[in-house]
Subunit: 146 residues, 2 copies
Amino acid sequence: MLDAHRTVNLGQLLHQAFRWFDEGLVARLRSAGWAELTRAHSSIFAVIDIDGTRISELARRSGVTRQAAHQVVQDLVRQGLVELQPDPTNRSARRAVPTASGRHSIEMALTVFDDLETELVRRIGADNVSRLRDALEHDWGPPPVG
Amino acid sequence: MLDAHRTVNLGQLLHQAFRWFDEGLVARLRSAGWAELTRAHSSIFAVIDIDGTRISELARRSGVTRQAAHQVVQDLVRQGLVELQPDPTNRSARRAVPTASGRHSIEMALTVFDDLETELVRRIGADNVSRLRDALEHDWGPPPVG
DNA sequence: CCAATGTCAGCATAACTGACATCA
DNA sequence: CTGATGTCAGTTGTGCTGACATTG
């Protein structure tokens, strides 16, 4: 019973599943020409709006600090995938807005997401995938700390 | 349709779910006295056998390089949680074996895993959790690269 | 005065690649 | 000779905390 690796825990399983998607995404986008793609880039790109999003909002959505999101956005700017524009509603804020090239990359990424999910359906069945989605889309609330 | 954050993808959902478990685990083990615990430690501990495991095998199970696993094992040795013993079947190999203190930590971790899963059942229901498990325990195969 | 935002700097963690010695 | 294993060294990626200026 103490044999930890035999009793596979849910956290472990979720990690493996996440990596399945992450590796698939990065591998395909790289081979499609996005050479400098890393996980940090894709995780920001996964939550950006087509018409632009504040850095602090990107941080909240992707679950990292403002400073970490800032760094990734600066790199995406360097790669020509997003532009920083002033936020008309707040002069202390700026919006990260995808460029034409960035929008093209987002389209690619969304296509890859679909492909990966389709491939998963082929491998474990549509029922399992939809049940997986159902469970994950529930509100789990914050991780229990106490 | 290009609004990426509205169409939440499975990879994103899996990442959030993994972090739910990971943060819960680390928070509880830390407050139970394991001060130096990090994700790297727990991910190795999650796959070690009670009677010892080769470093290269730990690497394969946890999905990192031999060198990365080596580093974490060295740190676990420093913390007195595992010992390195010669492998009787192969003189170029060594087994990382949990100490008494290490076995105690593994027991704690397994208890926390159970608690977290129980808490999740309370939040999203037993049906959802068991369906989640079912889907994740299928063999997904390697991430599609081509 | 306070809260949110963006930014700069420094630091810690974690995993990587490369290289090499040992052993089956 | 080849392949697996362990190890050392160097490097990169990633996110963190702290601090500060600006804006609402």
